[in-house]
Structure formats: structure tokens, C-alpha cells
């Protein structure tokens, strides 16, 4: 039994000791919800800080280093400032949609996070169509962006939102297909099965060539999904002001801002789970001693190390590559990624059929 499983079981027992089974169940749900909300806020702020700091190092600067030790409290201060600010909207905005939009993004990201296992048995719910659910839910977020762009009655917002729609429709395909490639190897859409299948080798090593191609495609389209540079046409500061959230201020802006970073976390977490073994420690074949040492590092630590690695990779992209034009964006997806992806699935299917994997 893993540490995280013991922890959840202990909490379960403790609640059962205090309440009746029904009430304990509700209490568990409330606790989980609160835990995820807290995680959402903390991870979002931490990622904003990391991004700024890492961006600074790429540009040989220092970055935020005044508030708190190493500037760690800078983003907290920024968030407090945003919360205290007056929300200023446009007069002709469709107020209902305008105020609704941020919640679409937040809720879809929260739902997406909830299926990702951060340790053994450590996800809010482990359904048997987990991967499918994740893809479905993460594309609800784009509705939020579209609504925000439409509702704020601003041409720049609308252009940004429509670009986001086009981008999402295209790249969603690549994300789905590259995940599907790995599912061929695992044979289950349930996230815990996906992780369990990697107890000997991580999937990226197991499926070698096609798995690696799928990994690269997933990283590219994942970056596009989370609207980060080089795919940030949705906001494109230099063209559209702030794109779809031009008209938002105060706490609503903070929601958009945070959810962007949480989306990056989700994409990285999915990449880490499906390709790099999630919370599974790094094992090399039959090297018992080495494998035992690796087992001592707890699952969540592995999970966050791998996720962090991919997040760093995405930040590296951001500070290296220039933004794509919208036609280049479409060309990249429909002429390159999609055909390659389909070929790759065939290749993987062939490998699985022949049993040519580790």
C-alpha cells in the first residue's frame, strides 16, 4: 500500500468515526473540493512566480526579488491587489455572459485536474473513461473564452476569441489522437490503469519510436491548447491588447490569468502521467538496488518532478519561439501534425499487434 493510499484511508476512517456514513461521504466531498480549490490557488500563484522568475533568467535578469524571500510573496501581493481592484466593464457588454465567462474557464480546469492521479489512488475521482473525460472537459474551457470575447463588446476581444475557437478545434484533434496512440498501448482509458501499466517502463520508453513521436506532438498541441507562446494568438499583446480578456479587470482578470497557468499545469500533468509514468518511480529493468532506492521517493514527489520538468520545457518554448501567424497555425496542424498523428497511430497499432514493445 502506498503512502498516499494510507493517507486517504486514514482520513476516511477518521471521518467515519465522527459522522454517519452518509454525512462522512458528504464531508469527504467537501474536503476534497476545498483541497482542490486551495491547490488551484497555490499552484496558480506558484506558477506565475516561477514563470516570471524563469523568464527573467532567460533574459539574464533577476525577476521579482523584493517581496518576501527571493520575491516569493510577489504573486500573492499581486493577487491581493487584483482582488482589491474595482472591476470596470464596458457599458454595452452583455453583462450576463460577461460575468459568466471566467467561471467556465475555472470550472473546466478544476474538473480536468480532478481526474489526474497525483499519487497512488490520489485523484478526486477515478472513472473508467478518465482520459476521454479530460479531453472533453478541457475543451469546455474554450467556451469561456468565446463567451468572454463575445460578451465584452470589443472587437479585439472578439478577434481573440474567434482565433481561440479556431485554434482549439484544430489542436484538440492532435491532443486527442496523440493520447489515443498511448491508449492503444495501455488498453484502458482509466488514469490509474494508465499509470499502473508503467510500473516497469514508462510508456515513452515502452512504445519507443511511435511513443516519442506522440509525445512531441502532444507537447506541441498541448502548448497550443493552453494558449501559450508560440501559440498565444488569443491574447497576442502586440496585436490585440490583451485579446479575449482585454475588458476584464480586478478579480475576473485574475481568474483568467490563473486559469491560463492552471491549464499549463494540466497539460504538463497529463503529459507526465501518460508518457512519463505519472507518480511511478523511475525503474531500470532488473536493477533491484536502484529500483528500491527510487521507490523510497514518494509518488507525489515523482509526479511533481515530472510535471515540473514539462512545465519548464513549456516555459523554455515561450521564451525562445516567436508567435505563429494564424495561417501558419492552421497549416502546422492540418498539414503536418494531423497526418503525422494518424500515421503514428497506425504505426503504434502495428507495433502493438506485432508485440514490438518493451
Amino acid at each position: 500500500m502506498h503512502g498516499t493510499e494510507r493517507f486517504t484511508a486514514a482520513v476516511h476512517q477518521w471521518l467515519l468515526g465522527m459522522f454517519s456514513p452518509g454525512a462522512a461521504h458528504i464531508a469527504e466531498m467537501v474536503l476534497t473540493g476545498l483541497a482542490y480549490l486551495a491547490f488551484f490557488a497555490v499552484a496558480g500563484l506558484a506558477l506565475v512566480y516561477l514563470e516570471r522568475r524563469i523568464a527573467a533568467f532567460f533574459q539574464v535578469r533577476l525577476g521579482p526579488n523584493r517581496v518576501g524571500p527571493f520575491g516569493l510573496l510577489q504573486t500573492v501581493a499581486d493577487a491581493l491587489k487584483l482582488v482589491a481592484k474595482e472591476p470596470i466593464g464596458t457599458k454595452k457588454a452583455d453583462h450576463f455572459l460577461y460575468s459568466l465567462a471566467p467561471y467556465f474557464l475555472i470550472i473546466s480546469s478544476l474538473m480536468a485536474i480532478s481526474v489526474i492521479p497525483m499519487g497512488a489512488g490520489f485523484s478526486a475521482f477515478d472513472i473508467d473513461v478518465g482520459v476521454f473525460f479530460l479531453i472533453a472537459v478541457s475543451s469546455v474551457g474554450v467556451l469561456g473564452i468565446l463567451i468572454a470575447g463575445w460578451g465584452s463588446y470589443n472587437k479585439y476581444s472578439l478577434i481573440g476569441a474567434l482565433r481561440s475557437g479556431a485554434q482549439m478545434i484544430s489542436y484538440e484533434l492532435s491532443v486527442g489522437l496523440s493520447l489515443l496512440t498511448m491508449i492503444l498501448l495501455v488498453g484502458s482509458l482509466r488514469f490509474s490503469d494508465v499509470v499502473q501499466a508503467q510500473s516497469d517502463y514508462w510508456l515513452i520508453f515502452k512504445g519507443h519510436i511511435p511513443a516519442f513521436i506522440a509525445f512531441v506532438i502532444f507537447i506541441i498541441s498541448g502548448t497550443a491548447e493552453s494558449n501559450r507562446t508560440p501559440f498565444d494568438l488569443v491574447e497576442a499583446e502586440s496585436e490585440l491588447g490583451a485579446g479575449f480578456h482585454s475588458e476584464y479587470s480586478g478579480i475576473q482578470f485574475a481568474f483568467f490569468f490563473l486559469s491560463e497557468f492552471i491549464n499549463m499545469f494540466i497539460i504538463s500533468a497529463v503529459a507526465a502521467t501518460v508518457f512519463l509514468g505519472g507518480w511511478m518511480p523511475f525503474h531500470i529493468g532488473d536493477l533491484e538496488g536502484f529500483n528500491h532506492i527510487m521507490d523510497y521517493i514518494p509518488g507525489p514527489v515523482w509526479f511533481f518532478i515530472k510535471t515540473g520538468f514539462i512545465i519548464f520545457l513549456m516555459m523554455w518554448f515561450r521564451w525562445t519561439f516567436p508567435r505563429l501567424r494564424i495561417d501558419q497555425l492552421m497549416k502546422l496542424e492540418w498539414k503536418y501534425l494531423l497526418p503525422l498523428n494518424l500515421l503514428n497511430i497506425l504505426l503504434m497499432a502495428f507495433f502493438v499487434w506485432k508485440g514490438w514493445y518493451l
Binding site: 524563469i54 527573467a56 533568467f57 532567460f58 533574459q59 539574464v60 533577476l62 525562445t320 519561439f321 503525422l340
Partner: protein
């Protein structure tokens, strides 16, 4: 086959870019180029070509190198420089010669573009490293660059 070689070429160029930025990132600790300004106010270091406000250096005898040729005044795109000059009699040669009375420099209009420095044929003015230039009154932003009582350095004109 152009299709696949395009893809490979694309990845190659992307990796080249990442190599460059990666090198900066992993060496960042050693060579941060920004300075923690208000903290190190006493030990600030300036790059050689730093452009602060324009000034006219004088030597110990209160002499400058400005002949009053007005090249800087013409070169300045913002009209930040005004030269007030007169013809003064040179006692040795008995000829009247152009000499500056006031070299007026309006910091409020200056963009630190360096054009006046380049234009000056006698290198009479320089860009200093002074950059804390805020003032409470606009009139404090107008400077007379030649010091009172100063005169032209001997031998500049030849």
C-alpha cells in the same frame, strides 16, 4: 520528400533556438546584466556608451572646446540646444571672431539621441553618466553648459 525534410529542418531550427536561450538560462546565475539600482547607488557601474544628460567638460583653467559653430544646434532633432554667440575681438590678431556666450541645453526636450555629440567637430560636448534627472520645476531642466567666465581652450580651432 520535401515534406519530411521540411519537418526535420523545422525541428533542427527550433532546437538551435532552444540551445541559444538554454545557454543563457543555465549561465544566468553568473552574469545577471541588470543591477539592483537603489541598493547599489554608490557602486553603480555604467557601460561605456551609457547616455545620461549632455554636458560640456571644462579643464582646470575653466576652458572648454566649444567654438560656437552651432553644428550641434542644427543636428538636434528636438531643438534642445540653443547657442547664443557673439563676435568678440581677439586682442592678439585684431580680428573679430565668433565665440559662445551661452550654450543652452534644454534637458526637458532632449531624447539622449547622441546626434549632437556626433555632430560636434571639436568634441566639446559629451554624454555624461548622470541619469537621476528629475526636478520639481521645469526651469530646473534648462542648463547653461559653459561655465560662467569660461573661454575657449587654446589651439582647438586649428
Amino acid at each position: 520528400m520535401g515534406y519530411f525534410s521540411d519537418i526535420i529542418h523545422g525541428f533542427k531550427t527550433l532546437l538551435t533556438g532552444m540551445k541559444v536561450t538554454g545557454k543563457y538560462f543555465f549561465n544566468a546565475r553568473k552574469e545577471i546584466i541588470t543591477q539592483q539600482y537603489p541598493d547599489n547607488r554608490d557602486t553603480l557601474t555604467f557601460p561605456e556608451r551609457f547616455r545620461g544628460r549632455v554636458d560640456m567638460p571644462h579643464n582646470e583653467n575653466n576652458e572648454h572646446r566649444c567654438t560656437g559653430c552651432q553644428a550641434c544646434e542644427i543636428a538636434c532633432p528636438n531643438g534642445s540646444i540653443e547657442i547664443i554667440w557673439d563676435r568678440v575681438l581677439n586682442p592678439e590678431t585684431g580680428k573679430k571672431k565668433k565665440a559662445i556666450e551661452k550654450h543652452i541645453y534644454h534637458l526637458s526636450m532632449c531624447t539622449m539621441c547622441n546626434l549632437c555629440i556626433v555632430a560636434c567637430p571639436t568634441d566639446a560636448i559629451v554624454m555624461t553618466h548622470e541619469f537621476e534627472l528629475a526636478a520639481y520645476d521645469r526651469s530646473d531642466l534648462t542648463f547653461v553648459l559653459n561655465k560662467p567666465g569660461s573661454k575657449l581652450m587654446a589651439g582647438v580651432e586649428e
